[in-house]
């Protein structure tokens, strides 16, 4: 009865830990087997109903996204009455979202609110007497969802409105030239192209802002790094406000990644302390250093700690050269020491556009400045200067991405295909945009034609 395969998070995304992605539909076993590599030799397609399978969800380049436990329930013995797969993810909220994204990548659609329940009912899996309760759920979820979405859109609404407006304009130009050739004449290609480019730019901006709003929802991955003994573990402990990591005066104390969750001014942060980076022959420490590098690679934010007592030496500089400077915050620790080896001039010269904080973890100095730096890095730093305080959810982001694809396709085919074919993409982009605000924008094109053009013979 339903042709589309659907997926959704069935645990609220939140404080890390386990999350479940539920997938339902006729074609899901084939689709999921494209992104799942089981530990056992048996492909999931060969597994019977009610089986559990340990394995990896993999990215399109084959790299691992998360280790998961996959539960398979075959139709009709499942909640929805269709084939259902439940993906139990372990790696916290970021991997869960990545796994969900992978499901979408292979052609599974994001479920509507209440859609699993609806399918369950329609496929006869729910008791008839439950029907009305189900309807209440759908009503509430869809309407509230819509309202929430609209409320959420208050922030970016003028951006969305601007995109809609430009899309309407370009659609009206095209349609007017098709329906009223004698009054309107040919389409102005240069203007069309300029409008499409404007639309694309606005969409790019919103989609990027959407990525940032994911950080707000799902947390920022921040890593503390630096050479040994600069006070990394001390900083972690200060931030999480407990003795999470071992602190000693012996360089090379920390050997593995120690992590915890904290909240910095409303931003959930997954903070990680790492082994100090240095050349070493110690096998355990060596593995630790390797792991540090890996973690730095994936981090959204890097807190690079220096030691005011030792000054900036070659070890520090090696690390500095190695990491991505656009994600960096520099913290000069141990400011309480008498003998300081790091001058203002030196800092200014080395870290020109990078925020630098002078601190003493022991004396609780500079922690607040650090929090401020983290926050401003998220709000402005990652998207220099666009100033968009925007929350868009995954559904909205997906609609934007699909709409942008159509705008891009129109840009490519502009001038290459006849106007009626161009209309398939330009009109499609408008319709997809309408999904965000729940409006049928197509109906507004005709009004727009009469507004913008002098029609009528």
């Amino acid at each position: 009865m339903f042709r589309e395969d659907i997926a959704a998070l069935s645990t609220p995304p939140g404080e890390g830990g386990i999350g479940i992605i539920r997938v339902s539909g006729k074609g899901i076993i084939d689709k999921i087997s494209k992104i799942f590599i089981p530990f056992s030799a048996q492909e999931i397609g060969q597994r019977r109903g009610f089986s559990l399978n340990l394995g990896w969800i993999i990215d399109d380049d084959g790299s691992k996204v998360d280790e998961v436990l996959l539960g398979i329930m075959r139709a009709p013995h499942s909640y929805t009455g269709e084939d259902v797969i439940e993906i139990n993810c372990h790696g916290g909220s970021m991997p869960i979202r990545r796994c969900l994204q992978r499901c979408l990548d292979v052609g599974i659609k994001l479920a509507e609110p209440g859609e699993f329940t609806k399918r369950a009912y329609l496929n006869g899996r729910l008791d008839l007497t439950q029907a009305e309760a189900v309807i209440d759920i759908i009503r509430a979820k869809t309407d509230r969802g819509l309202k929430l979405a609209v409320q959420q859109l208050e922030g970016p609404s003028h951006f969305i409105a601007e995109i809609e407006d430009q899309l309407l304009r370009v659609n009206a130009m095209l349609e007017a030239s098709l329906d009223f050739p004698e009054e309107v004449g040919d389409l102005d290609y240069a203007e069309t192209k300029a409008i499409l480019l404007t639309i694309k730019k606005l969409m790019d901006k919103l989609i990027r802002a959407g990525q940032r709003s994911e950080i707000y929802r799902d947390g920022l991955k921040a890593v503390i790094c630096g050479k040994p003994n600069v006070g990394k573990s001390s900083l972690l402990n200060a931030l999480v406000k407990k003795e999470k990591a071992i602190v000693t005066e012996i360089p090379g104390t920390t050997r593995d990644v120690v992590e915890d969750y904290i909240n910095i001014r409303g931003i959930p942060v997954r903070i990680m302390d790492t082994a100090g980076i240095r050349q070493t022959e110690d096998i355990v420490e060596k593995i630790g250093v390797e792991k540090t590098r890996e973690v730095i690679e994936q981090a959204d934010l890097i807190l690079f700690v220096l030691d005011a007592g030792t000054g900036i030496d070659k070890e520090d500089m090696d690390i500095f050269q190695e990491v991505d400077q656009s994600r960096l915050i520099v913290m000069v620790n141990k400011e309480d020491l008498e003998r300081k080896e790091i001058s203002e001039e030196k800092l200014a010269e080395l870290f020109r556009d990078i925020p630098v904080i002078r601190a003493s973890v022991q004396k609780s100095i500079g922690i607040e400045a650090l929090e401020e730096a983290v926050e401003s890095r998220v709000i402005q730093g990652m998207l220099p200067g666009d100033g968009m305080e925007i929350m868009i959810n995954l559904r909205q982001k997906n609609a934007l991405i699909r709409s942008r694809e159509q705008v891009e396709s129109a840009l490519i085919t502009l001038g290459q295909v006849p106007l009626d074919c161009l209309g398939v993409d330009i009109g499609g982009a408008l319709e997809t945009m309408g999904e965000i605000s729940g409006r049928t924008l197509k109906d507004e094109v005709i009004d727009r034609i009469f507004h913008d053009f002098c029609i009528g013979k």
């Binding site: 042709r3 509507e112 209440g114 609806k118 009912y121 329609l122 006869g124 008839l128 029907a131 009305e132 189900v134 309807i135 209440d136 759908i138 009503r139 869809t142 309407d143 819509l146 349609e175 030239s177 098709l178 329906d179 009223f180 050739p181 004698e182 009054e183 040919d186 290459q416 295909v417 006849p418 106007l419 009626d420 074919c421 209309g423 398939v424 729940g438 197509k442 109906d443 094109v445 005709i446 034609i449 009469f450 002098c454 029609i455 009528g456 013979k457």
Partner: protein
């Protein structure tokens, strides 16, 4: 005193473009049919522009033709010029447009009507429709004739309570100084049918002999002979020209100086007019920055000197109209034959009808054409055809004939009319169709002839032409797929180089090669790669091959659309009983009474949540 005058299966009121199609369809389907009209001389009258076709409208005419209607055949007999417009903009929007010879158009239609077996013509004004138990029972004319009938198609155009306005002059009347129909409107109201009021207008006509054509630009017809109907003989007639001129700043000054005498701005005209057909004074006011508007001078026929001024539709006072005309290049000394005017009229709010165009309230009562709040000859004819077919099907106790939005512009139009409330006269546009690339004028026969045959309107002659075309198309398509070339073929290489195209990379069929913009199907004939075919077949194959990607894309969209369309809503559903529907939805659903879930989803005010709820309710009902 009324008298019993006879009994018919179907009575059609009005012999405009809608009425003629309705009556012919009903009679051709074997129903005894009476066509009643105010004036036999004015059958199939074009009260406004002498033209048929254009974007979306040409597609309609082709669809009417494919189903066995008359408009395409009639305009092929009675035109002075046919052109293909929008040629560079793609196959979906290319459309024919004909300048009609108005008098010949009417004469040819009268001949067809009088020659039609089973169809009787009557000149009279229908004043009343009698009902029993909310079913049509009879009609009564002003002169007291009572005709029994179970099915009536009303196609009275702009005549219901028609009111003519030109400046300060106002009187009750139909178009072209005919009588208005007043009593019939009251009879409809008495049945509980809701009426609205619209307005439209027409420009002045001038005498050809007084036009100075040297100051205008001549617009000849196409050399290539076009035809609307798939079964008309190849046209051989001489094409007459139209002429292009424009308004001047002086024209606009005259309009503005007299604007306080314009009924549109004094509040005299209350009915809403169409935005796509604004009056000239409206254009001058709304687009004040434009110092000039295009105006076309078009002959009204071969045997008349009356010329129509396209673009100058107005209800300004007559003395101002004369001044306006004289300020236009080429018309400095023009003599006006007819004054332009606006007409206000009653229409039936179309959401009261079903998709079959039968009233939801009164069984056997069909409405079609301008009375349904549309405008345009083609829109009227298409509705007339559908209403006539459905009246006849009802007589024969067969299922109603309904075209989907994905099948025909006719489907788009009727679905829009019934679903979406419009506060201006409705005109079809290609942008109203979601699946425009599938609904082309070149493939209307492929889309609809088989349906017309099933209904019983496609005769053996048309059917033979159609089956021959289909056979030939299949052969040609097969050849294009079967014939392949490799990069080693010298001929192809030479050909592609001459077209500045890239050489072949792999084995490629003629069909695949057609996708290239530089490759034309005629070249295949010249190269001897394809045997000769009829031009229509070649065109069809070329379009199908060139736009295959886009066409397939739209076909996928149609499949998704049709899934929701096929979820029928039973007629006896009680929306008040459906748990948790929003109040607004219940009200709108009760008004429109959609026939499928897809239909319901297009109603303004019905949310996606409501559709989900209906889906569940229907599933529950089935269990």
């Amino acid at each position: 005193m009324n008298y019993e005058a006879g009994k018919y299966d179907v009575v059609v009121i009005g012999a405009g473009h809608a009425g003629c199609e309705a009556a012919l369809a009903s009679a051709r389907m074997g129903c005894s049919t009476l066509l009643v009209t105010l004036s036999v001389e004015n059958i199939a009258l074009m009260p406004c522009n002498p033209s048929i076709g254009g974007p979306a409208k040409a597609q309609l005419v082709r669809e009417i033709d494919a189903l066995g209607g008359e408009m395409g055949i009639n305009i092929d007999k009675a035109n002075i010029q046919i052109r293909l417009i929008n040629t560079g903009k793609g196959p979906a929007v290319q459309s024919l447009r004909a300048q009609a010879d108005k008098h010949e158009y009417g004469r040819e239609m009268i001949k067809t009507i009088l020659g039609q077996k089973g169809l009787h013509l009557l000149m009279a004004e229908v004043e009343e429709i009698e009902t029993v138990d909310e079913k049509v029972n009879a009609i009564v004319t002003r002169t007291g004739a009572r005709y029994q009938c179970q099915n009536v198609v009303i196609t009275t155009g702009t005549y219901l309570k028609g009111r003519i306005i030109a400046g300060e002059v106002m009187y009750d009347g139909g178009p072209g100084n005919q009588f208005p129909a007043v009593k019939l409107a009251d009879s409809l109201r008495a049945m509980g049918i809701r009426l609205g009021r619209f307005k439209t207008g027409t420009p002045p006509r001038v005498d050809r002999k007084s036009v100075n054509f040297s100051k205008t630009i001549e617009m000849p017809g196409d050399i290539q002979p076009w035809r609307f109907s798939y079964i008309s003989p190849q046209p051989v007639r001489e094409q007459l020209s139209c002429w292009l001129t424009h308004s001047t700043p002086e024209t606009h000054r005259i309009v503005m100086d007299n604007i306080e005498r314009a009924p549109l701005f004094t509040g005299v005209i209350k009915g809403k007019g169409p935005r796509y057909c604004p009056s000239f004074e409206d254009k001058v006011v709304r687009f004040a920055h434009k110092s000039s508007h295009q105006l076309f001078i078009e002959p009204e026929g071969r045997d008349t000197d009356e010329m129509y001024i396209q673009g100058l539709n107005t209800s300004l006072p007559e003395d101002v109209q004369v001044q306006v005309l004289h300020s236009i290049p080429g018309m400095e000394e023009v003599r006006m034959i007819r004054t332009g005017y606006a007409i206000e009229y009653d229409y039936v709010i179309p959401s009261q009808a079903k998709l079959s165009l039968e009233s939801k309230m009164v069984e056997g009562l069909f409405t079609a054409g301008q009375i349904n709040g549309t405008s345009g000859y083609e829109e009227a004819a298409a509705q007339g055809l559908i209403a006539g077919i459905n009246a006849a099907l009802k007589v024969q106790a067969r299922e109603p004939f309904i075209l989907k939005r994905s099948e025909a512009y006719i489907g788009v139009m009727i679905d829009d009319l019934i679903t979406k409330e419009s506060d201006e006269p409705y005109r079809l546009l290609t942008s109203r169709a979601e699946y425009r690339l599938l609904l082309r004028q070149d493939n209307a026969d492929l889309r609809l002839t088989e349906k017309g045959r099933q209904i019983g309107l496609v005769d053996d002659f048309r059917w033979a032409i159609f089956t021959e075309k289909k056979k030939s198309l299949a052969e040609g398509t097969h050849l294009l797929h079967k014939t392949t070339f490799t990069p080693a073929d010298k001929d192809v290489d030479k050909y592609l180089t001459s077209k500045e195209g890239a050489p072949l990379r792999d084995k490629t069929s003629l069909w695949e090669m057609l996708r290239r913009t530089e490759v034309k199907i005629e070249d295949y004939l010249n190269q001897g790669w394809l045997p000769p075919f009829q031009p229509e077949i070649l065109e069809q194959m070329e379009i199908q091959a060139k736009y295959e990607g886009y066409i397939n894309k739209q076909q996928e969209q149609v499949q998704r659309f049709e899934r929701m369309e096929s979820k029928r809503i039973p007629e006896d559903i009680d929306y008040n009983q459906v748990y948790s529907l929003s109040n607004e939805s219940v009200q709108r659903l009760n008004e429109i009474r959609p026939q499928s879930l897809g239909h319901a989803s297009r109603i303004a005010g019905v949310s996606p949540a409501d559709i989900n709820i209906l889906l569940i309710y229907l599933a529950k009902r089935r269990n």
